[in-house]
Each structure stands twice: as structure tokens, then as C-alpha cells.
């Protein structure tokens, strides 16, 4: 487009451009006086783009057991929170949003858009939009680790493995949400059985000295196998490592369906379990990067999607 010529042709046409004032960048104010109708379009586009990048958004990830929220101001995570899912999905989403707002000392109207993701994403009436867990996790993981090409999300009730390209675009995925044997709830059950806090099972498993092999696939059957191991006198640490290896093998089989490309990023609450990450690294033969707050990656992704 020959900008200069057009500007000349229609110079001096004033437009209703109040939105510009609200934004206030000097060059746009100046353009307000000189920009012709044809160029107004492009100017508005620029303004809106500016608006987008300046937009403060929130993402809420509603999982099977927890709800997570993130407030994002351009590239900065302003605040994040995780709550246990109790009761209605909409109420839980509201509660976690209030929590992040409170932490950030913000008002609800400071948030331009709220996007949801996760299993309960469509049940939140106040959301402006939603994205699939696959999209949200890839987007979030890619923002934190731009070199990420494989994203492993393990939550309470299943695992999802996503592949993406250099731009963070989702290219392929595979998931298991049918069977608990590769999911967080199984680890939780084992932690209860062995009376070890779930936050400590990963560390404890790394102290294993003797191999315990669990042969069953089903998590329900594995429970009886674990009872048998307890009767045999196997240590908690050894049993835990065996359990982590078993869970990792179930996840690895899904990973292999989509193929691995470095870097591999682990997201979802189970990412806090160092034992599982270690066992999975061993099985895949690749180093795995875990963000500092793996459980909020989906919410971060949703917040990024909201800003787009």
C-alpha cells in the first residue's frame, strides 16, 4: 500500500478516535489528525494490537482435583494460585480467580479477558473463552521453555503428551484418560497405603536400594501387589521406586506413540514428583525440564490464549 500517497489524498479528515486518547501514545494522537479513512483501519489495527499486548488476562485450569489460575500482564506472571476442587466447577473457578486477584491486589475489571481450560472449561459461565488442555499446556510450556518440542502433562486422572513446533504450535498429541495406572491418583493411593505424604513419595523413592518390580497393569491390582510387598518386608523406598517405574512405563508408552523430540517439558501437578520425573527420564533416555510451578502451566497457557 502506498501509504504516503493515500495520506496526502485524504489528509485532514478527522475521525472519531476517542479510543486513541484513552491509550494515549503520542504518535497515534498525531495520526488522528492526519489519517484518512483508508488508513484509519490500519491505525485501529495497530492500536488494538497494542491493546492486546498490554492486556492483562487470566487463565483458569479446571482439572479433576485442582483448579489453578494465573494472571498474566504481557510477559509477566503477576500471580498464580492452586485450590483443591470442591463442589461446583463454576464456584471453584470463581474462588481461584478471586484468590489470584487478591494476591495481585487487583480488581476484577483490571482483567480484560478470562480463558479457561481443563476438563471443566466449558462449565464456567463468566469466562470469555476456553481452549483445550492440549493447546493450553503446549502454549504455557513453550512460553516458559521456548525450546520445548515435547510436552508431557500428567494430572490426577490421566496423561497427555503433546508435540509442538518451534513456534509453539501443537502438531500432534496422544492421551490416556481411561486408565489410572499412569495417573496421579494412583500415586496418591500408594502414598496413603504406605503412610507417606504425597509430596514426599518422590524423594523417598530415590533412596531405594533394592529393586521391586510390579507386574500388574491395573492400579487396583497393583494395590494388592503392594500389600504383598509390604508383607514380604520390602522397604517403603523400594516399593515407591517400583511404583514410580511402573507409572513411568505407562506414561512412556503413550509418549512413544507421538515420539520424543527435545526439549521435553513436564507439566501438571505430578511434575513436582522428582521420583516420577527421574523414572521417566530413565525410560525415555531424554532429560526432562520441569517448570518451577508445573501445576499452573495449563492456566498460564489459557491466559496467553486469552491475550491473543
Amino acid at each position: 500500500m502506498k501509504k504516503g500517497k493515500r495520506r496526502e489524498e485524504t489528509a485532514g479528515i478527522a475521525n472519531d478516535f476517542d479510543k486513541c486518547d484513552a491509550l494515549g501514545p503520542a504518535d497515534l494522537v498525531w495520526r488522528r489528525h492526519v489519517t484518512p479513512a483508508g488508513l484509519v483501519e490500519t491505525v485501529i489495527e495497530r492500536i488494538e494490537k497494542d491493546l492486546e499486548t498490554r492486556m492483562i488476562t487470566a487463565g483458569i485450569d479446571i482439572g479433576h482435583q485442582s483448579v489453578n489460575a494465573v494472571i498474566l500482564d504481557q510477559d509477566t506472571i503477576v500471580s498464580r494460585a492452586t485450590l483443591v476442587l470442591a463442589g461446583e466447577v463454576e464456584a471453584a473457578a470463581k474462588a481461584v480467580l478471586e484468590r489470584v486477584l487478591q494476591q495481585a491486589e487487583m480488581k476484577r475489571d483490571a482483567i480484560a479477558r478470562v480463558y479457561t481450560t481443563g476438563v471443566g472449561r466449558e462449565k464456567v459461565g463468566f469466562a470469555d473463552g476456553h481452549g483445550t488442555e492440549m493447546l493450553a499446556h503446549v502454549t504455557g510450556a513453550h512460553r516458559l521453555f521456548p525450546a520445548a518440542r515435547t510436552v508431557i502433562d500428567v494430572g490426577a486422572e490421566g496423561s497427555r503428551i503433546m508435540r509442538c513446533d518451534a513456534n509453539g504450535k501443537l502438531s500432534n498429541f496422544a492421551m490416556n484418560d481411561k486408565c489410572a495406572s499412569g495417573a496421579g491418583v494412583f500415586l496418591e493411593t500408594v502414598a496413603q497405603m504406605l503412610r507417606v505424604p504425597v509430596s514426599e513419595i518422590g524423594h523417598a523413592s530415590l533412596k531405594s536400594t533394592k529393586q521391586v518390580v510390579l507386574t500388574t497393569t491395573c492400579a487396583v491390582f497393583a494395590e494388592s501387589e503392594i500389600v504383598a510387598e509390604i508383607h514380604k518386608g520390602s522397604s517403603k523406598e523400594d516399593i515407591l521406586w517400583g511404583v514410580h517405574e511402573s507409572v513411568a512405563s505407562k506414561i512412556a508408552s503413550v509418549v512413544k506413540r507421538v515420539g520424543v523430540e527435545e526439549e521435553v517439558v513436564f507439566t501438571g501437578g505430578v511434575g513436582r514428583n522428582v521420583g516420577l520425573v527421574k523414572a521417566l527420564e530413565k525410560q525415555l533416555g531424554h532429560a526432562i525440564r520441569v517448570p518451577e510451578h508445573p501445576e499452573t502451566v495449563g492456566a498460564l497457557g489459557a491466559a496467553i490464549l486469552a491475550a491473543r
Partner: protein, 264 residues
């Protein structure tokens, strides 16, 4: 001729005593942590009901998941062969057998002599096994034997759909249904229907030929068996004690061994 069959399963163990081809006595106990001890206990319980002593046993065959550790057995044979043979003993016209055990489920096809033609089994997933039923009964706090009758009290034409296959996930689904106030009978109808649907797939894959029999603990659950009959459109034959069928087969194999030896 006195022979014994022992079936040490994942959740229950059975001992059966045969005297001259006649079922003399049987026992049925819960499997303990030690399979060898469980086998001993089952045998002793069966012996008490007779005038027989241990020394009278001429040949013992063990089967089931703990069959290799039964100390007093001379031989062990897979539970699939034993269930086919046992079912054939109770019902000679049987051609398709569904064994629904504590931790697995097998669909077996056999010929007119009770020999296996083909079989399929699920031992990877608890869905559709006795274990799943136990887990749910415990969750709903009702005795296991009430599950079937209660499920038939459901008045709905279509049972509640329990969408999760995995029993661990289904647990939270059931809890959610209870919170919504869905009556117990409806939930149980959904569970029994789910189990029937799952094993229906297994039977279809192995091929269904009449007569059809069900063995194993779940065949005592009328909620599952009646729904399965409806889905398959055939009558399910269930013997008076479906849990001992495997042990009966083992005792019959023991008799075969002795007969062969006698002829030689």
C-alpha cells in the same frame, strides 16, 4: 479312586474331593496373603466334611493363580483348562464358558469333550472383574451379595451411564452421582450394566456358541448375569456353586491321570 482339585485364585480358594467320579465335598475360603497356607486351609476344610484323611488322597491337581505353590499337589494345570473341564462336568452340552473371577475374566470356547478350542482373557484391568464389584460395594457400603438384587430394583429403562472404564475413576464418578441424589439402585444398575457390556465384548470376540455357562464369583450376581443374558440373547447356565468349577476341573484331571496310569 480319591482325587483332589485345588483352585487358589486371587480372591478366593476352593478345594474339591472326588470319590470314584462323584463330588464328595468342597470348601470355599478367602485367599490369604500366603498361597501355600491358603491351599492347606482349603483342603482341611473340605476334609472335615468327609471321613477322609489326607493320606487317602491319591492324586491332587492344583490350578488358579497360586497353583505353582500348592505344596501337596502332584501337578498343576491352567485354570482355563480346568474351568472348561469343570463346566463340561456340570453341563456336558456347554460350548462357551465365561469365567468371571476376582481379578480376571476369561471367555472360553470348548468342544464336546470339554477341551479348549480357543479363549480370550482380560487380566490387565480390574473393570469387569469381581474386584471392581468389591470396590464399589465397599464404596456404597452395601454387602457384595446385595449388589445384584438391588440393581434389579432400578425402575429406569436405561441405566445410568458410568462413563469411566477404570474403576478408580469410576469411583469418583459414582460419588458425584450420589451427591446428585441418584438412588442407589440406579447406580448399581449402571455398574452391573457396565460389567455386562464389557464382558459381552469379550464373548463376541471369542464367538458365542450355545450352551453358554458362567462360572466364577460374579455369576452369583444376578444383576450382571440377567443383563448379560439379555444383551447376548441366550440363557446363562450357572451351577449350584459356580466358584468351585475350576477346582472340579482340576479334580477331574487328577482322575484322568490315575485312570491313564491304571490302564498303562
Amino acid at each position: 479312586m480319591i482325587t483332589c482339585g485345588i483352585d487358589v485364585g486371587s480372591l478366593s480358594a476352593e478345594a474339591v474331593l472326588f470319590v470314584d467320579g462323584r463330588l464328595e465335598a468342597y470348601s470355599l475360603i478367602r485367599t490369604g496373603p500366603d498361597s501355600a497356607q491358603t491351599a492347606e486351609d482349603a483342603l482341611n476344610e473340605a476334609l472335615i466334611k468327609t471321613d477322609l484323611r489326607r493320606e487317602d488322597l491319591e492324586y491332587t491337581v492344583a490350578t488358579g493363580y497360586g497353583r505353582v505353590v500348592v505344596p501337596f499337589a502332584q501337578k498343576n494345570i491352567s485354570e482355563i483348562s480346568c474351568h472348561a473341564k469343570g463346566a463340561h462336568f456340570f453341563l456336558p452340552s456347554v460350548r462357551t464358558i465365561l469365567d468371571m473371577g476376582g481379578q480376571d475374566c476369561k471367555a472360553i470356547r470348548c468342544d464336546k469333550d470339554g477341551k479348549i478350542v480357543s479363549f480370550l482373557m482380560n487380566d490387565k484391568c480390574a473393570a469387569g472383574t469381581g474386584r471392581a464389584m468389591e470396590v464399589m460395594a465397599a464404596l456404597l457400603q452395601i454387602p457384595l451379595e446385595r449388589v445384584g438384587p438391588l440393581s434389579l430394583e432400578s425402575t429406569k429403562k436405561k441405566p445410568v451411564k458410568i462413563s469411566n472404564t477404570c474403576i478408580i475413576f469410576a469411583k469418583s464418578e459414582v460419588l458425584a452421582l450420589m451427591r446428585e441424589g441418584v438412588p442407589m439402585s440406579e447406580i448399581l444398575a449402571g455398574l452391573c450394566d457396565g460389567v455386562a457390556e464389557r464382558v459381552k465384548g469379550l464373548i463376541r470376540r471369542v464367538g458365542l456358541e450355545e450352551d453358554f455357562a458362567i462360572t466364577g464369583g460374579i455369576s452369583k450376581n444376578i444383576g450382571v448375569t440377567s443383563r448379560l443374558e439379555k444383551k447376548l440373547g441366550v440363557k446363562a447356565n450357572i451351577c449350584f456353586e459356580p466358584q468351585i468349577v475350576g477346582a472340579v476341573g482340576a479334580a477331574l484331571f487328577a482322575r484322568d491321570v490315575l485312570e491313564k496310569r491304571g490302564r498303562a
